[in-house]
Homo-oligomer: 129 residues x 2
DNA sequence: TCGTCTGTATTATTACACCTAATACAGTTG
DNA sequence: CAACTGTATTAGGTGTAATAATACAGACGA
């Protein structure tokens, strides 16, 4: 049993789906700092996917600072590194803009969108917050 | 001069960048319902891009109901078709979830994220709202 | 009616990303 | 030492993105 939830689907690169699944698990504390990740080969076997594909995902996650890899011993969830405020904004801006455009295209008001975001936030983090 | 803003960049399919640029122009009323789009060949020439690439973007936009194409006369911005509420949610849910995960990864609180969204909303729509 | 515009379709070619496969190597651990 | 770990390399197969060169039918103004 993998320590993160994932349902592989067509239409999106597998390694990107793994990256998002791990990020989500970290964001929701299903994976906590210091926790050891299953090995590349184990994840590969569990998902029925080539080890190189998993390796690519792990590589991305270490590049982004989500994981820290130690050859010989394994990969671990890294401590959260608080980024500077300006960097936070730059990283999220394109995503926010896209969400606003799509939201407007579907006829949602800003208030409706925010309500939807708050509901989704609760769903993801569970009711224990 | 094209009726929508676009800065072609590497790393993302050109036709997807065109799709987003047109959607954004429609969302911000820079392109209004009934307005005629420049022809495929004109857009192609202005962007220095192959006509087939532009055609692919136009095709996506008509499929999504943003544009309505009339062979012989041109492509026009379609009337906004209010979708059902449940469909709105389904379409936006993955985007919202991704934004929340990325936001958490950068250490932003839910309140900070919503403030950032509101600021971005004002920037996009200008101060005349 | 004719020429020119419109969207659309087709075929071919090049380039690149994704994925799989099969190894290989060095470091860590029991 | 044996078995695990992350990592690197090479190869092949597949699909998409983008360009290029045409072609055709419908709309429209002169």
């Amino acid at each position: 049993m993998l320590p993160f939830l994932i349902n592989l689907q067509l239409g999106e690169p597998i390694y990107e789906q793994i990256v998002r699944a791990v990020k989500k698990a970290v964001a929701t504390s299903q994976l906590q700092s210091g926790a050891q990740m299953p090995s590349v080969r184990v994840i590969s076997r569990e998902l029925g996917v080539n080890p190189n594909t998993v390796q690519k995902a792990i590589s991305r996650l270490t590049d982004e600072g989500v994981l820290a890899s130690h050859p010989g011993s394994g990969s671990f969830v890294a401590d959260r590194q608080p980024s500077l405020h300006s960097q936070q904004i730059k990283a999220l801006q394109p995503l926010i803009e896209q969400l606003l455009v799509e939201s407007a295209h579907h006829g949602l008001s800003e208030a409706e969108l925010i309500t939807l975001i708050q509901k989704t936030h609760q769903q993801i983090h569970g009711n224990d917050h």
